[in-house]
Symmetry: C2
């Protein structure tokens, strides 16, 4: 009586994982330093010294019963208060501890937020290009994910398509800014307009429509980018955060849900998350990790390497003749492929040991993603290879 | 459009939590040392020095990118292998890494196991007295929990009631041994007979029936107790473990699913868990905690205090005249109340600052649970108070 739904999912393959495995295998043949592996979005900088020092101090000095004791199901009260205070300081919000729910990273945050504000059968809209895991995150909750086609001009929102797809079954809209895979941050103008449409549709349909904002790249924003705090613009909003990128702690699975204090039922959403977690087997992130992260709440790893890498790649790609929108943050760039079939394009790139991810799974065919969370020295070495590839395979002249 | 199912759950109150809060408040009035708080099942011994030393060493010496890097969704391969090897050594099993799935404690393990082997609408049977969180764990997965009445003679299984309740919709049986709240370990004879009934029913109904074994108290077994490893007795079995009690790390949320290599689809169940985790927002326990626990896999905290406390309480309770079955493990004891209404009984005990949990929520009315994971000195001081309570309120003579 094995569950067939989950068993069938085993047949699905992750193209990103396949490419990453290919890169590792190829690295064993020719040396990994010779594989230009742009496949995986894994932070390439260490966590802060402050985090490491705090974990060591805590384990040396604190009572083990305190640091390893059960956390309340919503998270350790002091940690929730510290998160709220930090957000208030940085973004001029008025969160209190009761609006914060500690989670196992952004995935855990989205799993709870989606269940809070939808019932099975409801629709959630997201915008292409989008992180493909949104599919299982949403669909296995019982809600249905629908994808608004991309605005390929600048990867802001395609509002025409969005308004067309809005209907009374839409219970939530899921945004990701700065965006994986496009690297684009939604501008103040985009978020204002999104809020305006959603306010209008709430009135038209006579029910709440929640804005779920997935923000793991919030701290990786480049010079000049307009990347406002989404929650400020729309009352019925829930922010989903992860420290995996800002503190380079992806394996520690630590993040939170922050409920806009002006949202409908703002006072019960975090408590509901606690009930949801009873049903899905989540019971807080690690207590010691909660405590250590709260102690270094406003620190970030040295994230400047991502901007350095972005500028190197953006300059090279535009020089070669790629059509590409300059990223405002993250560690991704999303150029148009040099032929219609992005899979064919990325396959050809493999011959040059360039590992690029075709965009089909991101809901926006014809593009490719480069995850430039790698050494700057390797980015530099990859540029002549990119040039050779474009010249030999596509006759690009530059 | 707040989800009403979860919102309604907010009205439910946890009697254990209420009693624990009462004990804390009362402690502020009269000093917590004067409150005999037997409400909460929180380990009362520190984690092992070996664990603390390993966490410190790792953070001092290892590359942060390694210890905090993304864990594969099934858990770190070396950790899974270490768990398998340890179980094989200790219980004569033949697990391989591919049978192990790392989880956020036993709650996470059960959430995955239940979804693997049931579909919505299927029944799962468990045996009273039972851990009340099984309700949300099972029911929010879409399966339905049914509770087989207790065998109050010895708190082994009530086989007559079990056979009556078995039907073709039963997809799994969920056991917890040693048991919260009874403290009883199922004997070899009990587990043999359980396996025999289940084998027979599998044949009769023509489908698999899985045995899900919840084993957080596996390492807390007292002298003379017959507490065999459940999985050895039944092929279609899944063991759900947590290190929260054995290593006293409840807040770290670390455990695993171990799939019997002889189960139907044994090779895909752990991989299915990885797919399920995409849908419920679980993405592995903390990477550094996984690594540290694996390094000290066969260690346990000093658990002997629980047996000391149990013997003190068992002797006192029987001397006073309570009807009580001697626990074989855990840190719980489950005597019969001195009146039919266990809530009234526990309310009267509060006057003596004895905090006892009535058994109604455990599916076995008329009893009470004492969680004796507290200082032995306090257990000793509580005995004259128990005597006074029984004498004054119920005229017990001893």
């Amino acid at each position: 009586m094995i569950n067939e739904t989950y068993k069938k999912m085993l047949q699905g393959k992750s193209i990103i994982r396949e490419l990453s495995e290919y890169a590792t295998a190829r690295g064993k043949e020719i040396g990994y330093e010779n594989v230009f592996d742009y496949s995986l979005g894994n932070p390439s900088v260490p966590c802060t010294d402050s985090y490491t020092e705090e974990i060591i101090r805590m384990h040396q000095q604190e009572n083990p019963m305190t640091i390893h004791g059960y956390s309340p199901s919503l998270g350790i009260e002091w940690v929730r208060k510290t998160v709220a205070d930090s957000l208030n300081r940085r973004f001029g919000m008025d969160y209190e501890a009761r609006h914060i729910f500690m989670t196992s990273g952004a995935a855990g945050a989205i799993a709870h937020a989606v269940r809070c504000v939808t019932k099975p059968g409801d629709e959630i809209l997201t915008f292409a290009p989008f992180f493909p895991e949104y599919g299982p995150y949403v669909n296995l909750s019982g809600a249905v994910l629908k994808v608004v086609p991309a605005n390929t001009e600048n990867f802001q929102i395609n509002f025409e398509a969005f308004e067309e797809m809005m209907n009374e079954h839409v219970a939530a809209v899921l945004v990701n800014t700065p965006n994986n895979p496009s690297g684009i941050a939604y501008s103040t103008e985009t978020i204002r307009r999104l809020a305006e449409v959603m306010e209008r549709k709430q009135k038209e349909y006579g029910h709440d429509i929640f804005l779920i904002s997935d923000e793991p790249y919030r701290e990786i924003v480049f010079a000049g980018a307009d990347a406002p705090y989404v929650t400020k613009f729309y009352d019925n909003s829930i922010s989903c955060y992860s420290f995996s990128k800002s503190l380079s702690l992806p394996g520690e699975r630590i993040g939170y849900v922050a409920v806009n204090p002006r949202a409908t039922d703002a006072d019960v959403i975090a408590v509901m998350c606690g009930q949801i977690s009873r049903g899905i087997g989540h019971n807080c992130p690690s207590s010691s990790v909660q405590l250590a992260v709260a102690k270094v709440i406003d620190d970030t790893s040295d994230l400047s390497v991502y901007e350095t890498n972005m500028n190197l790649l953006y300059d090279a790609l535009t020089r070669i003749g790629f059509e590409v929108v300059k990223p405002g943050g993250t560690f991704y760039i999303f150029p148009k492929a040099l032929e219609e079939d992005a899979c064919a394009f990325c396959n050809k790139a493999k011959k040059y040991d360039l590992i690029l991810v075709p965009s089909d799974n991101f809901g926006c065919p014809g593009y490719f993603r480069m995850a430039y969370c790698i050494d700057t020295e390797k980015v530099k070495r990859s540029i002549p290879v990119l040039e050779k590839f474009a010249r030999e395979e596509y006759g690009m002249k530059f």
